[in-house]
């Protein structure tokens, strides 16, 4: 099996303050992986560093077997919901259509083919009836589904999602999980920043447990040991008890 992501010796800092230290891991194609860890562990930073949205101090990153700039168009990234301006004058349909922008290139406009693709993706997340709504009129879960539809429209091989389950309803969460599993089953690689330990084992094949350093990586069983959780979540005792109780 090919590797979707190979990271070695990655260091990232903000203004001299180290956020990620000596991170190294490999993710095979066709896996769904959850990045978990306490607040401020550098989960989103890792995702952004993979995409070179923040510069790294040191380290090697290979994505889909090449350098990042060769494969950018094969990656779909879903940002945290809080970074989006939900008052922006754009409809649900047009938001999904943006997913086709990377591949149609400069100077061209999305045509009939792209519009059909966008509608198909909207159908997949069951949002067709909302296609002409402004995106701010939707609930949190619906918004997240629309952004997943946009990622689907990118027809990518690697999907990176930053906290997609924050502040959304159970139905939307189930639907998103189901679609992500389907994508994995057809060989796509899924990486999700996730904060809820409870559901992590149901959602992902593998976990990356992060707290500035990589604490553990592997199957859910391998990662969820009292020792690793304690070293990641050290001070946050209530959280620890919750996990221990399971």
């Amino acid at each position: 099996m090919n590797n979707a992501i190979v990271v070695s010796n990655l260091h990232v800092s903000y203004y001299g303050k180290e956020v990620l230290q000596n991170i190294g891991f490999t993710i095979s194609e066709g896996k769904s992986v959850g990045i978990i860890g306490p607040n401020g562990a550098g989960k989103s930073t890792l995702l952004k560093a993979l995409l070179n949205l923040i510069p790294k101090d040191k380290g090697e990153i290979t994505i889909l077997g090449s350098e990042l700039k060769e494969v950018r168009k094969r990656i779909a990234y879903v940002p945290q919901r809080s970074t989006i301006d939900w008052d922006f004058p754009i409809t649900v349909k047009d938001t999904v259509l943006i997913g086709t922008y990377p591949t149609i290139g400069l100077l061209r406009r999305p045509g009939r083919l792209e519009k059909e693709l966008a509608l198909k993706c909207l159908e997949k997340v069951d949002m067709t009836e909302f296609q002409n709504r402004q995106i701010g009129e939707l609930s949190g879960g619906q918004q997240q589904r629309v952004f997943l539809a946009r990622a689907l429209a990118q027809q990518a091989d690697l999907f990176l999602l930053d906290e997609p389950f924050v502040g959304i309803d159970a139905t939307s969460e189930e639907m998103i999980v189901k679609i992500l599993k389907e994508l994995r089953d057809v060989g796509k690689t899924i990486i999700v920043v996730h904060h809820d330990l409870n559901k992590a084992e149901k959602y992902f094949d593998e976990l990356l447990l992060l707290n500035k350093e990589l604490i553990a990586k592997g199957s859910v069983k391998e990662v969820f040991t009292p020792k690793t959780i304690a070293s990641a979540y050290g001070g946050q005792l209530s959280f620890l008890d919750e996990v221990m109780a399971k």
Binding site: L51, K69, K73, F88, P89, Y101, P102, P110
Partner: protein, 286 residues
Amino acid sequence: MIHFIEAVMQYGFLQKALITSVMVGVISGVIGCFIILRGMALMGDAISHAVLPGVAISFMLGINFFIGAVITGILTAVGIGFINQNSRVKNDSAIGIMFTAAFAAGIILITFLKSSTDLYHILFGNVLAVRPSDMWMTLIVGVFVLVSVFIFYKELLVSSFDPIMSQAYGLPTKMIHYFLMILLTLVTVASLQTVGIILVVAMLITPASTAYLLTDRLSVMIGISATCGTISAIIGLYLSFTYNLASGATIVLVATALFFTAFIFSPKQGLLWRSIRTNKQKSAVS
């Protein structure tokens, strides 16, 4: 009104004034949409003030003042970005520091030019004194700005809406930002004679904000904004000519009147319908 139309037919200076201000209304309406959606209204104000030293230097060197204006406009934009990224000074403070500095330098340079009327016209505009060369320059700039927005519409849309995603798929978002700053300085210089430096920002943000209240689609918003800019220009010029009022200020006040009309009567966002809907709901449940 008929008197105004007759006058436009009759007087060349009025025709030039009308064409120039309509063009300014259109292009500032179009660029203004991107400025307000990116949360850069203050930046618009800054860049418009920052062209002053460039205009002054261009006069001294006898070169076309678009060149100097674009240079000092962009330098100021770069300076604001630099301070913002390299200190804890907040963005609005960085903008305030840099544009007032540029503006102050501009005032001193202009006084070297020895004619105080120039300064007055640059600051407040004097659309009735537009020369044919100015009008053509405005038209050329206008066409350039409109064509640029048309060509890069897709990229401007996505980088304004979701800059992180655009960067993730490889769009040069920084370059797009500075390209927009260049367009902004061009629009500012084109607007100098119509509304003047001080009030340019009104033409950028007022029609665009009016449009923002009236639609949920960017393409429609741009159309409405350009239309509001045009209507403001025509009615403003008419009032200015008929009642002998300062042209730039009159145009801006017409734009403001349009904004408040939308603010109150907009079907979706307007104050009036909102309170009617609220009251209906209240009485339905009580």
